[in-house]
Point group: C2
DNA sequence: GTCTATAAGTTGATAGAC
DNA sequence: GTCTATCAACTTATAGAC
């Protein structure tokens, strides 16, 4: 339906399949079938599955970072921005499109691909740490609290998938935000 | 060098491989090779991969629950027990042996197998909620805080794997415990 | 750039001897 | 109960025509 190039259609389809099933469990053939592109085209644009995965996961990381930065880099007070980020609506039962790859051997055994995932989390942790510093915490405590905040989101996804209950993620966020916003939260 | 039966060796080996690579990425052949058991024996004891997975993941869940209950069911004050559970040493870079399965389609698409994973988390959430209730929180808040506590552990594993840094898990725990143990934490 | 055909290896599982 | 041999389907590609 699109005037999109074969390459773009391959990346779009791969992003969706990798997010839904993981990289290891998604065959190049599955991407071909879902995208409607021919076999030769895939291997023309992406000689190996690794190349396709780096392109698709890289695109997903860029999208996710852009959205996160929108929440975390606003005008409101630092803790408010973190809470906005934590409380943003998420498709909990689908799991995190990027965090899920940490359990995928096809990703973790591939250095270039793993680096893409690492960069996403390092970047998020950096911005969250900066926010907590801005809120007045010393460096060590700001880093620890940033790790806790991001762990709440990632762990909330795991709990939601495990219990098949999307509210498990929102409950984890509520529990954390409750502690975060009580008086003397420093 | 064991007198263990072929069946026991198969379950032990499968537990390790499923924990390290996931169920979907571990072939019955890999379990055979690592256990030293013959092909016929596997399919005698476990007619399908599903049967092996239910036995192996079920055994892992039982082990993990027993250890968690040891921490969470002691004599000390409720919040102290939760903190002991959170601060217990963990092999962060290996990831959670059970939580990782929430990203494994081979597990999540198999109802019986998924139920084993669900039961583990429902049980843990129940015990954690009870502890926070015992600490004086009303039911809703106790449930939310229990979700947050367990999300910290699961999310901490994800962050440690993503950044290839085991201290990412301990940092998340420190950040959460800091909030948890400040005055007026109710 | 895109296609169809095909290769060599692996997957989950079965057959049938011992 | 345990073994080796084998299976059809699928995996990640490659070959070569259009």
């Amino acid at each position: 339906m699109s005037t999109a190039t074969a390459r773009d259609r391959l990346i779009d389809t791969a992003q969706e399949l990798f997010a839904a099933r993981g990289v290891g469990a998604t065959s190049p053939r599955a991407v071909l079938a879902a995208s409607g592109v021919g076999q030769g085209s895939l291997y023309h644009h992406f000689p190996t599955k690794h190349d396709l995965a780096v392109a698709a996961v890289g695109a997903t990381v860029e999208d996710a970072l852009a959205r996160a930065m929108h929440d975390l880099r606003g005008e409101s007070p630092a803790v408010r921005r973190v809470v906005d980020y934590l409380e943003r609506p998420r498709d909990a039962l689908a799991g995190c499109r990027i965090g899920r790859h940490t359990s995928d051997q096809a990703v973790m055994d591939d250095e270039g691909l793993r680096d893409v995932v690492t960069a996403y989390f390092v970047r998020l942790l950096g911005v969250l740490t900066e926010a907590f510093r801005e809120a007045g915490l010393p460096d060590d405590a700001a880093g620890d609290r940033a790790h806790a905040a991001l762990a709440i989101v990632q762990g909330g996804y795991v709990l939601a998938r495990a219990t098949q209950d999307p509210d498990a993620l929102t409950a984890a966020v509520r529990g954390f935000v409750g502690l975060l916003t009580q008086k003397e939260s420093m």
